[in-house]
């Protein structure tokens, strides 16, 4: 669907919006230029919210003028969280948005539950409904709002936590009280399981999922997203820029526009929340709202970026069970990354030592049967990094 901000304001009964919009934003010629240009929108599942395909991930932005300009250009949906910038992120948004009619923007925030064991993902004694609701109320206070449009359970690690009764009760209560129009969850790991649990719950309206061209489990996530969308859930993509760099050393930037377009080629992704910290990004991302087609140059760039990303182990651990000697292959790949990626030889050594590996753990194997899904030549890397074990550790510190 094509759509522009002026149309959105009209359809949202916000005709008078401009009356109290800050003068600095109105002076923005880019805003005036953009107002009449059509942008692509998609419906956020059964919520019925019609959003432009690119939204604003506010996480690292502390410039109020960036938010004002975004509103003027045609950005509608802004995403924050209880934890971003220790709460200052929500506070800044609260200060900006009080200048605008409440229904001229869509705001989402997230709260992470206390008391969940980071190692095992198990619920602990601190994981209560009350603690969760208290944080949500704090978020509303910082935002200076009576309600948010979307409230997410931030990063439940597994099915058990997604479906924990205390959180489902809290989410239902928030929705019933009108403090959130819609509720959802965000998932950064274990995505297929978490998304499936969200589908099964009949509580969550929206899934916010890390999804990009470099993601190790992009194929699985794509399938699960399709299922969730079919069931009427709204799907919002995060981390679309895949870390913004091809390499761990952050020397080779990713073409962010191409990465953003890649995510949005999937029609089941209804909008995305790339992090925006400059006016340049604001403009560039906006252009994706107008034209989603990947150019040949962008396609080539993404192919190259995928190859470079392949230098690094993604930690999927598909390899360990393949190894005849049951070596902890993905741990050794981690050691390789420390040694060759970060030049942290002591840390690499510590990993090798932890698993009591010799300096040539593959010596009595004739052929390596491990097939890395990323195509990493596992045997070569093991041979290379294991040589560290020939050195006394104190030489590395």
């Amino acid at each position: 669907m094509n759509f522009n901000r002026r149309g959105f304001l009209k359809s949202s009964a916000l005709g008078a919006a401009g009356a109290i919009i800050s003068s600095s934003a109105l002076g923005n010629p880019l805003a005036k230029q953009r107002q009449n240009l059509p942008v692509i929108t998609r419906k956020l599942g059964k919520t019925g919210l019609e959003l432009p395909i690119v939204s604003f991930g506010v996480m690292r932005s502390d410039n109020a003028n960036l938010i004002r300009s975004a509103l003027e250009m045609g950005y509608v949906h802004f995403d924050s969280a209880y934890s971003y910038m220790g709460g200052r992120n929500e506070q800044m948004l609260g200060e900006v948005f009080k200048e605008y009619p409440r229904d001229s923007f869509v705001i989402s925030t997230k709260v992470q539950a206390d008391g969940i064991d980071r190692r095992t993902g198990a619920l602990g004694p601190g994981s209560t409904k009350e603690a969760f609701l208290a944080k949500f109320e704090e978020s509303l206070g910082r935002l200076q709002m009576d309600y948010v449009d979307i409230f997410y359970f931030h990063q439940p690690p597994n099915r058990e936590v997604v479906l924990a009764p205390q959180y489902l009760e809290a989410l239902n209560e928030i929705k019933k009280q009108g403090k959130a129009r819609f509720v959802g969850l965000s998932t950064h790991s274990n995505e297929p399981e978490v998304i499936q649990a969200a589908i099964d719950s009949n509580v969550y309206d929206i899934v916010l999922v890390g999804y990009n061209f470099k993601h190790q489990r992009a194929g699985e996530i794509k399938e699960k997203i399709a299922l969730a969308a079919q069931k009427g859930l709204g799907i919002i993509g995060m981390k679309p820029m895949a870390g913004a760099f091809m390499d761990q050393e952050r020397q080779h930037p990713i073409n962010c526009k191409a990465a953003l377009k890649w995510v949005l080629q999937d029609p089941n992704v209804h909008t995305t929340i790339p992090g925006i910290t400059t006016f340049e990004m604001l403009t560039e991302n906006f252009s994706v709202m107008e034209n989603l087609e990947l150019t040949e140059e962008e396609k080539n760039h993404l192919e190259e970026a995928k190859l470079v990303a392949g230098l690094y182990c993604g930690g999927c651990d598909d390899c360990t069970h393949q190894c005849k000697k049951h070596l902890p292959v993905h741990e050794i790949m981690r050691a390789f990354m420390y040694a060759y990626g970060y030049r942290d030889y002591d840390h690499a050594y510590a990993v090798l030592e932890e698993y009591n590996l010799s300096s040539s753990p593959c010596a009595d194997c004739n052929e390596c049967v491990v097939k890395c899904p990323k195509g990493i030549l596992v045997a070569d890397r093991i041979a290379s990094v294991s040589k560290l074990r020939e050195l006394p550790r104190n030489m590395l510190v």
Binding site: G57, A113, A244, Q248, T278, E280, Y338, R343
Partner: protein, 281 residues
């Protein structure tokens, strides 16, 4: 082959000789057991722990995160030491997450406490100590742990020097910050110390310190970005009609770029810019 290994070894030794050994990051604390769960995160895997928030740390020169948990009976205190590479970066990340209404406590170069947490920075380290969400631990115990960690890290407790150039009059409490990248929403402006003021209305003052060449480059790029009619000069003062940020008053002085935004009051802007210039070394 042997020669190759020798070079590799030499390279290893040179690279890590200045690194702090793993075991020296955390103090031993009487009555508490340091959990076996002690982890180190680097730029490539920090996101596994803190997700998208990792990007903020990376923008402030993140080098590594050392994380440990101390346990005593049912009590658990988690200690996170973010090594940010410089005092400026540690302060920048610390101040980015500091809310003005948190209770200030005397620890490190500066610190605060809130329910179940003590956060502070000292030297190049941003330290977060927390019990919240894990178990109920008295605040005094968390603070005691923070003091021990601070002492163990043994860094000079000083604020970044540029902060002393900010005038006191009218400065809003704990509004000072260091923005390492993308200041004012521009990729070409970086390394800015800033604070908000209230005098004849609210405004923001910033000071960027860099080499004279870099300062000149930032100013030139800024002027180039705006059309000519948006740049006015009165003696040493530039008045920029910024498309996005409104009126910006700027002055360049050797290794410093000093600016005021969010006000139209030229008189106030000049007064504060001059006050900064008067304090320059």
């Amino acid at each position: 082959m042997f020669r190759k290994l020798y070079i590799f070894m030499l390279c290893c030794c040179m690279t890590v000789s200045s690194a702090v050994a793993e075991s020296t990051w955390f103090p031993e604390v009487d009555g508490w057991t340091m959990d076996e769960y002690e982890r180190i995160y680097h730029s490539g895997d920090l996101w596994e722990l803190i997700n998208g928030a990792a990007e903020g740390f990376l923008n402030y020169g993140f080098e590594s995160l050392h994380l440990a948990e101390y346990t005593r009976n049912d009590e658990i205190i988690r200690v996170e030491i973010y090594s940010q590479g410089s005092t400026e970066n540690a302060y920048g990340m610390y101040s980015a997450e500091r809310m003005p209404d948190y209770r200030q406590v005397k620890i490190g170069a500066q610190g605060y406490s809130s329910e179940g947490i003590v956060n502070f920075f000292t030297g190049p380290y941003y330290v977060k100590i927390m019990a919240v969400g894990l178990a109920n631990v008295e605040e005094s115990k968390i603070f005691e742990m923070a003091v021990l960690v601070d002492k163990h890290l043994d860094q000079p407790s000083r604020m970044p020097a540029v902060l002393s150039l900010l005038p006191e009059e009218g400065r809003e409490y704990l509004s000072d910050q260091y923005i390492a990248t993308n200041f004012m929403g521009y990729g070409f402006l970086h390394s800015a110390f800033t604070a908000r003021y209230n005098k004849n209305g609210s405004f923001q003052l910033f000071i960027i310190r860099s080499s004279t060449e870099e300062i000149r480059k930032m100013l030139d790029l800024y002027k180039e970005m705006l059309t000519e009619e948006r740049v006015h000069q009165k003696d040493d003062l530039y008045i920029l009609n910024d498309t996005y940020n409104g009126t910006v008053f700027l002055a360049e002085k050797d290794e410093y770029l000093i600016g005021i935004l969010d006000t139209e009051e030229e008189h106030t802007a000049v007064e504060y810019i001059n006050a900064v210039i008067a304090r320059l070394p």
